[in-house]
Every structure is written in C-alpha cells, then in structure tokens.
Symmetry: C3
Subunit: 314 residues, 3 copies
C-alpha cells in the first residue's frame, strides 16, 4: 500500500482486516514500527473523531503526531499551476505539501467538497494535488468524495459484531437539516459492495442515487421498509443529492430511523459514523438501545488508522 485514499488502495482487504483485529488485541505491541516516526495531520476543516483517533493511533504505534489547522493559521493556499500570486493566496500547495513532507513520515489530510462544483469535487482536484506533491505516503482523513478510514472502521465493527458468517448490511439515507457531502455513503458503498460475506443494500428516496463508480452495481431499493427486511446491520446517514449536485431534494421525516423501522430486521445492530442529529436522523430509542454500535464504531477509528499507519510505515 502506497497511499490510503480508497478501497482500491488496499489490495487484500481480508489481510488488512485480520491485521486490524490483531492490532486491536495488542495495541502497544507494534511500537517498533512507529519508533522515531512522525505522523503529520492537516485539517482544512474541523474534526473531532478523526483528529483524536489519529493522534491516539500514532501514540499506540510508538509514533509522534502533529496537527496543523490549515484554516486557523490564516494560511491560504494557491492551487492553480502557473498562477501569478499577487492576490490573497500566500503559498502554493506545491511548496506547502513538499515542505510538510519534510517534517513527517506519513501525512494525513482532510479536505472537503465544495458541494457546488461537481466535476472539481469528483475529480478530487485538491486531494490529487496533495498526492502529486507529497514525498511521503498520504492518508485520506476524508476527501471531497470518500472517507475510507471511517468505512474501514465500519468493516472492523461489523466483522467483530456479526453473529453469523454471512450478513445483510443496509445503508439507509436519513433526514438532516443541512446539505451534507456524499463522502461517508460513497465510501461505505465502495467498501461494503466488495466484502464477499456481505449482502449489501442501499436505500434512499428517489434523487439521492450515489455515483455508480462507488456503488458498483449494489442493489438499490427505494422502499426503505423492504430494504431493511432481514437486515443484520443498518448504517444510517444523511447525504445531499449527487445528481442534483449538493441539493436537499426533500427531507421526509418518515425516513428517520426508529424502533418501528427496525421491526422487520434480524434484530439488526445499528451503525452511524457520528456526529448524529438525535431525533432528526435517528431516534433516541435506536441510539440508546443495546443494539447500537456507534461508540464501538468510533473506538474502531483508532484501529483503522493504526492499521493503515502500520502498513505505510512498516
């Protein structure tokens, strides 16, 4: 693995999952890998889970971490090649990323979509420039279209919690009050459509179809009730429209997940990447039930990151 930006970077996902479970069982047993290594973490927008789980993952591995809040440092990057930099941008991304590569052994970067310029977002223009100029391995801490550390943590969680060999996993759209990126559902589909012991189903209102590049022919069922039938795991998440890019087409509150929605499932366990808008996306009763895995899922963010760091630094 050279960089970690999507499922395709992983190669053998079963081996990576086994490595994650081994690291979780013995989190401080791999510190020879991180000794004298520095993990650089660059955030272009706020973060709680990704920031703290990445720092913890570096520590567990015996490495050090630094965090740069690109925004808060009032440090504006020029992205255009050949630009005459006589305006507001203070440093070209070419130097910025090359220089930061000098100060760490692996670079984690979080960028974000415009939700306005579909082509720019889906071509990952910013993230690809980072990959182009970095001279150390790069980890996506969430890009314009994907959030692979989250999906890997979800996979670890489902693997740990499943009660039978083959399981049905449903990704269901949920209402929200804002227009959110498609990163988490794209990435969830990118990973779970590939797992050979998972029957994967996506359900959402019409108009919220995800990019087929990520759904890879997964079954899409517009009837939420039917989709959830017999599910072993349900991941709820809001996203804005990909087709009508960045728009909130409708926000039907009947899609909010409640115990009634889960009645036809196989006593489904519940996933959400957090943060969650309680009683908007999901009801308290679902979040607070013993079947909720959301805290375990967040805890596994440490081990997805630690495993990726282990692969890139070993």
């Amino acid at each position: 693995m050279k960089n970690f930006t999507s499922f395709a970077d992983v190669g053998d996902y079963k081996a990576l999952l086994q490595q994650a479970l081994a690291i979780k069982a013995n989190p401080y047993g791999y510190q020879h890998i991180g000794k004298n290594k520095t993990v650089g973490l660059i955030f272009f927008n706020p973060s709680l889970r990704t920031r703290l789980s990445s720092i913890k993952a570096a520590y567990n591995l015996g490495a050090q971490a630094w965090v740069l809040n690109a925004g808060a440092d009032a440090w504006t990057l020029e992205m255009a090649d050949g630009a005459v930099m006589n305006g507001g941008t203070q440093e070209h991304i070419k130097e910025a990323i090359a220089v930061m590569s000098q100060y760490c052994d692996v670079l984690g970067v979080r960028t974000f979509p415009t939700l306005q310029n579909k082509a720019e977002d889906y071509e990952e223009v910013v993230f690809n420039k980072i990959l182009q100029y970095a001279t150390v391995p790069v980890i996506s801490l969430e890009s314009a279209t994907l959030h692979p550390l989250q999906s890997f943590a979800d996979l670890i969680t489902v693997a740990e919690a499943r009660k039978k060999e083959r399981v049905k996993v449903v990704l269901t759209w949920a209402p929200h009050v804002r227009a959110l990126p498609q990163c988490v559902p794209n990435s969830f589909a990118d990973w779970f459509s590939e797992v050979d012991w998972v029957d994967f189903v996506i359900t959402h209102p019409a108009g919220y179809e995800l990019d087929e590049k990520f759904t890879k022919g997964a079954r899409v069922e517009y009837d939420q009730h039917q989709a959830l039938e017999g599910a072993d795991f349900v991941q709820a998440k809001n996203w804005s429209s990909y087709r009508h890019y960045g728009q909130v087409l409708q926000n039907d509150p009947s899609w909010m997940l409640t115990p009634a929605h889960l009645a036809g499932t196989n006593d489904a366990q519940f996933l959400h990447c957090l943060p969650v808008r309680r009683n908007v996306e999901v009801s308290d009763a679902v979040l607070d039930s013993p079947n909720s895995l959301v805290i375990q899922e967040a805890a596994n963010r440490v081990f997805s990151m630690q495993t990726v760091l282990h692969e890139l630094l070993k």
Copy 2:
C-alpha cells in the same frame, strides 16, 4: 479516587499531599504509571496555566496528551436529553464524551459558569453530564463552581513554604474590572477549611459571601485589616457575588493588597492563582516582593496534576 472534581473526591488529603511532594522530588520516577497512557484535555474556554501544566504533568509521568479546543473547532454540543436536534447543535454531549473516552485513559475537562443561571451553575449541570457519560476517570480542569487542581497546588505551596507547624491562611477578596466566577475562592475554601494545621479566615466586603457548602463554617471577617492580622499566608482573588448572582456589587479600590495591608501580618507570604491584574487586585510591590509565591504556586500546578494523574492511572 474515581474522579477528581472536589476535595470530597480525595479521601485522605494528607496522603495525597505526601505523594505530591514525593513526585515533585522525583518527577520522572513514576513513568511506568503513564506508559502507553493518553491524557485527553478538553477546553471549553481559553487557558494558559492549566493547559501547559497538564501537558507537562502527563509528559513527566511518561504519558501522552492531546488537547481539544471545543470552541475553536466550531463544534457545538447539545446538552438537553430528548432534544430534537434540528437547530444549531451538531452533536449530543452523550456521544461526544463517550467517544472521547475511547481516545484516552483519563479525561480532563474545563467548563465555565454562565454567571447568569445560578441553579444551573451550582448544580454543575454540564460537568455532571460529562461525569455521567464518561467511561474513563474525569479530572476537573475548573468547573462552574470549583478549581480543585488550583487549590491542591496552593496546598502544596503552603505546605512547602510554611515556617511553622500551624499557620494562619487568609483568603481576601480583591477588586477587578470584570465579573469573575467564584470557582477559585469556593475551591480554596473547600480545601483549606479542611486542613487540620491551618487556621483559615475569609475576608470580603458584605454581599460577597461564598456558598456555605464550600466555606463549611470557616471564619468570615468583614474587616480586612483584622482578618489579615498575624496571617502567615494571604491569597488574594476577585470574585463576583454569589448571593446577587454574578454581579459586581462594588469595587472598592482600598481592598487592593499593598505592603501597607500586609503590615500587621506575620511577614505573610503571598499567593495568587494568576493571571493577576497588577495594581488593580494587588500592587506591584506585593507581587515583586521576595514574599510572593505566585511563580512557585504556578509551578506546583504541574505537580498537583501529576499527582492526580498518578492516582487515577495507577
């Protein structure tokens, strides 16, 4: 000790004080306790001493620390149970604290009072929710009503600096330009009213009486001159009114501590938790005299935190 939020959590304060002095004498001698441990530090408002002394304490103990500035990350918490989160709050404190508990072995949290809603502040509504949802030990880095790490550092300082077995310690109100919380004086009273080798006296203008829950029957003397007579230690601090909650009733400059005020003391040594408004709370001559312990007191913040971390992690 399960958490560290007030004097009552301590149990045997004499043993804790002995432990602090032992740690101060050999600050790097306890690193087996902190090995592979992570100290999470969450600040809901700015901090200098608490932030840096806590980081240093973690390092001394062989542990790692991370800091989260809750405000700067533009990450707004919902506090109400059962809330329909369709407004400005992005994450419920229930998930936020449970998740952060996954990323550290002990959690230090600084909250602050509203200074408007007395019941909410004195019931420690926010801090108690943190205690409720945390799954690791919690240290108060200052709450709405108390600042126990400061008081413990003050106790270490007085224990180190006293020239006789039994000492008189006076807490005197001081003028200021803003309405400040009662945390530091509440906590100072909470601790020093319990120390069996201290004669503890509080002095302030009428109307600035502290909550009797913390003063525990300590002598209150409204005549500052009389209160200071024979004092071995004087701690000056401003606070706003508890009775007329959060108000500045008056700001009599004659309460500013000067060498003249200390004339009747037993060559008293001077304490202040800092930051101090020079020549408003206390005159330069007091702060710059050889009897001022303020820097030693700030240095002892490392050892109060390190001792508490040692107790909670051992």
Copy 3:
C-alpha cells in the same frame, strides 16, 4: 550558548555548523539529550515551517513539545512596567513568561514587528522583555528584526550544496504585494557577512538599504545584474524599507527573478525561505528548476532547530 537570538549568540559558528551536519547524519542519535525535556513553543502570529520543524526537531532529540497560540487563546499581555491593569490586558508578560518557564526546559518564541514604530521594533522591546523574565533558555523563532533559525538553515544548505570551497552568495530583493518585515534579510546578512568562505553581496533598489548593524560593511550593489554575476548561490526575498520604515517604496517587477536574471551566474543554486509568491517574487521556471534548493532549505529548518536545542539542553 545561553540563548539563541542572533549570530552573536552562537560563538563558534563553524563548530555549530559541524554539529548540525553530524546531527543531520544521525538525527535520532542524540536522544539522551532530550530525554524528559519539554520544549515550549509560543506563537504570537501564524507559522507553518517554524511550528512543524520545531516540533519535529524536539521529537528527533527525544524531547516533547507543546505549542501555545498566544493570539488564538484570546489572552492579551500587558507589556508596560508599572501599568494599572484596568483595561484590556489580562496578564503581565512578567508573570506569563516566568510561569511558562516553569512548564518547559527551553522556550521558543515568535514575535513580530509593528512595522510602524521603528525604535520599538529595532530595540526588540517585546523580545527583550521575554529574555528578561524567562528563567530557561530562549530561542528566537523570529523576532521583530531577525530570524536566526532560518539563516542557520540557509548556512547548512549552502555548506551542503557548495561545489567549491569559496562561494559567492547574493541576497537579492524581490517584488511582493505586501509590506514585509526585514527579519529574514537582516538575519541572512547577520550570518553570511561573517562566514569566512563566503563572498557576500546584497542587491536591492535604492531606498531598501538594511540596517548597517546587520550588514556589517557587506558589499551593496544597486545593479542587480552586476550583483548576480558569477554568483554560486542566490537568495531572493522581499522586504519593506528600513529607512522609510515599513514602506513599500516601489515594486519594480523587473526585479522578479527569472532564468534570464541567472544567466550570468555560475549556474547559481537558488534559495528562498518560503512562503514564496510564485511569479511575483520568483518565476516558476526558477522555483521548479533542478537548481532550486528551497525544499532542502526548508528541511534543514529541522536540523538548525535540533542543533540549537542540542546546544541549549546538553
């Protein structure tokens, strides 16, 4: 070396340079020096290179680092002795620096010039107060007039890259869109005018003369073309006027460095401290040529800092 604020603090610069090259060759070989040590880093304004290279330098040396963003913590310092602090300032620099000295073993501080009050800036009023009140060694991370860690990194870079014993080094003024401090050129002159294997020349438009305290009689050549003739190394940098303090007198674009400007040099290698305004200060063709040393120069910021930390902590 007691503090590190200018070339004069160094003493034997040849020995320091040798130490830097030895440390770069074996960056983790000196960790006994940093064991249990804490490096405090205080920024009064934003920073990328200095912040991250200083953290990396501390880690390499086996030490820990903390960073305080003085501004972001909304923590305003009183500088005036004897002030009655009844206004906006919350803490006197006397306590702030003395207290921070308790929480680290060496203190790095970045201040900045007013660019309005020449006397205050060139007397380093703020930095000298920090030196006065600190009780641990202090490293300038850039002050009002100097940036010695940058100049030391430049010296390491030139020493590594030179192809012959004696080299000509030219500092050339470059256009910019804002009024910048004189710190980097002052400091470059402060160091390179002293190196006995360097022929040092400064070139700039009339009116941009630097303080002779730093140029120390170095050759100043107003004709850029003539200055660059036969140069082995060229450092480009914008600065505002020292004589007409803080002003942009003119911004002649013909001073922007292009391959044509370098035609008469001895195949000169190119230096810039970064960030650089591409196609304003320097053209893409110069920055992207194989003769550009800017990334190596930025990488050497780790080793200039690590060497200084090594000297101050050993």
